[in-house]
């Protein structure tokens, strides 16, 4: 637990600055697109065109993101924010929790983008569940007994999901 606390980065001025900057850019994009929508939807008056609400949202986001940026920069100068971004990136790279989370997300992403729709549901689900369970519960040394236990949990979990959803509730599965 203490090892996690030392290496897991907390939300900081660098991250806040980045978030504010991204939202500011987003607001400019939305306002620009709002005008495009008005020009393209063949409605003469802006007040009932498709661009009205996006423009209002864009202006609101612009004001909020500018306030957010100003507040962050008031509390921490720009130089500090930029060096914090650098430190934040270094800590992200070092954090074991982040490594675990990224690998977990990759496994989930592979399941969603590669397995689903391209392989039978039970195969993709069994492989993904096994991968996630083994990865999340990995400990050195990992005995054959533990590996078999997690594979059994995956198999039972997959079977239970198919029986409960497809057979009992008649819910179509991906």
């Amino acid at each position: 637990m203490s090892e996690e606390k030392n290496t897991r980065p907390d939300a900081r001025c660098g991250a806040e600055f980045l978030a504010g900057a991204v939202c500011w850019v987003l607001s400019i994009y939305v306002m620009f697109k709002a005008i495009t929508f008005w020009k393209e939807d063949y409605v003469e008056e802006f007040y009932y065109s498709s661009g009205l609400m996006p423009m209002i949202i864009g202006i609101a986001l612009f004001i909020i993101s500018i306030s957010y940026l100003i507040r962050t920069l008031k509390e921490h100068p720009l130089k500090e924010c930029l060096s914090d971004v650098k430190n934040f990136a270094v800590e992200l790279v070092k954090s074991k929790y982040v490594h675990k989370a990224i690998i977990g997300l990759i496994i989930m992403g592979i399941y969603i983008y590669l397995f689903l729709g391209n392989t039978p549901f039970w195969i993709g689900t069994f492989i993904t569940l096994s991968a996630l369970l083994l990865f999340m519960n990995w400990s050195k040394p990992m005995s054959i007994k533990n590996i078999a236990k997690f594979l059994l949990i995956s198999a039972c979990g997959t079977a239970a999901i198919i029986i409960v959803f497809e057979v009992i509730f008649r819910v179509p599965l991906p």
Partner: protein, 503 residues
Amino acid sequence: MIGTYLSFVGEAFAIALSPQGLLCMVLSTFVGLIFGMLPGLTSTMAVALLTGLTYHFDGSLAILSLLAIYIGAISGGNQSAILLNIPGTPASAATAMDGYPLALKGRAGHAIFCATGASFFGTIISIVCVAFFTPILTVFALKFMSHEMFLLAVFGVVICGNITSNGDPLKGWLSGFIGLLMSQVGMDTIYSYRRFTFGNINLSAGITLLPVMIGLFGFPEVIKAFGAQKAKMQKNTKYSIREGLRDLRRNWLNILRSGILGMIMGAIPGVGEDTGGWISYWSEKKASKHPEEFGKGCIDGVIAAETGNNSAIGGAIIPVLSLAIPGSTSAAVLLAAFWMHGYRPGPLLMNETPEFLYYIVVFMVLSSICMWLLAMLIAKFSVKVLSVDAKTLMPIVFICCVIGSFVTSNRLFDIKIMFVFGLLGIIMSYLHIPGAPFLLGIILGNMADENLRRALLLTHGDVSIFFTRPISIFFMLLIAYMILIQLPFYKRWKENRKAKKKA
């Protein structure tokens, strides 16, 4: 007239007490209790998942199941809060303050009994308010014109951003307006012009609410499991019914006050059950003759917190039924479920489907009774349930999230949406940006867009309508006030005033 209402009540009882209805109610309450008990599984997730799974059910059975799982999930959180000092749902955070110290003293069973009883009474208080206030609010809501519906939507997002962001409303408003932006994706409601679709045919239908909800609220919990540690658990769950009932009777004023406070908190858009629990706990502590005992194992604190968080359930449903604005994230999912099954909550509810209100009231009463009985029955076994490791459970929860996202429209695209918004949810969680305003923005965005443009179309662009009717002036002033009280110069002025008074 009364005969008609009684027949609606009779119909509701017939549905709920039929073999199918009983099975749905008992199973859903049980699953809700399990969801509530297990840290990392929230009531929102439970309702969102079951919404997808009950898509093919008969409408009233689906609504019964959803209400049952909602009540079960909010109530179930108290068991892990008391036994593990980890609230099963955010709504039970206040329960842990006194629940866990009681468990350390060997009184976990007594705490669970009182907490469950308080949950039951809290839900009943809120149900009475649903039955009483919804028709009144519906009549009031019928007076709303298009521009006032727009202002109501903006007010919902602004107040939600204010209250849910832990003193940093800029983040709440940012979340809310990005949610509003997401609602603009797809074909607009008046001219069917495609906005922000980037040529993708799937995005033309807009971003579906359920995958966003599951991604935003489910994903961060699944990812947290990567760093989860097993918590120490108290195992003694024996209790005396007589002693429990005596404590509940002694706290009748506490229950009434917490019930009303929780109901009010639940009715405010985006606030929800966790605030209801905390406000009630704080209020009981203030009113208590022995406030120093709170936090050290005072049963009054447990009762206040659980009454407050459960009464917020009915409170959250009142604006859903009368204004089509959810009071909490779980209520937001319920709203989506009502739409899916052909019910139209809002100002026209009492005209179009008046029986719906009575169905909700009866279903909630029966679900509360079912919850109390089941919770007491499984209290002895909850120890075994709670010992399931999060690292073993969360991968299965992830698969359930995938299925839940898929079932509403049978599109693989929705699962991808869930994943993308899951990543966004992780980033928002890291930056302490609340997800509730985001969700509210997505729900209210189209309503705001359609009503604003309709209002301006009818008046040929004349904005003076916003300043001529009392309802719109009221909402404009309220929104301005909500923003003003968060501005730095106002806060500074208030602090100076306080300092001058002290001096």
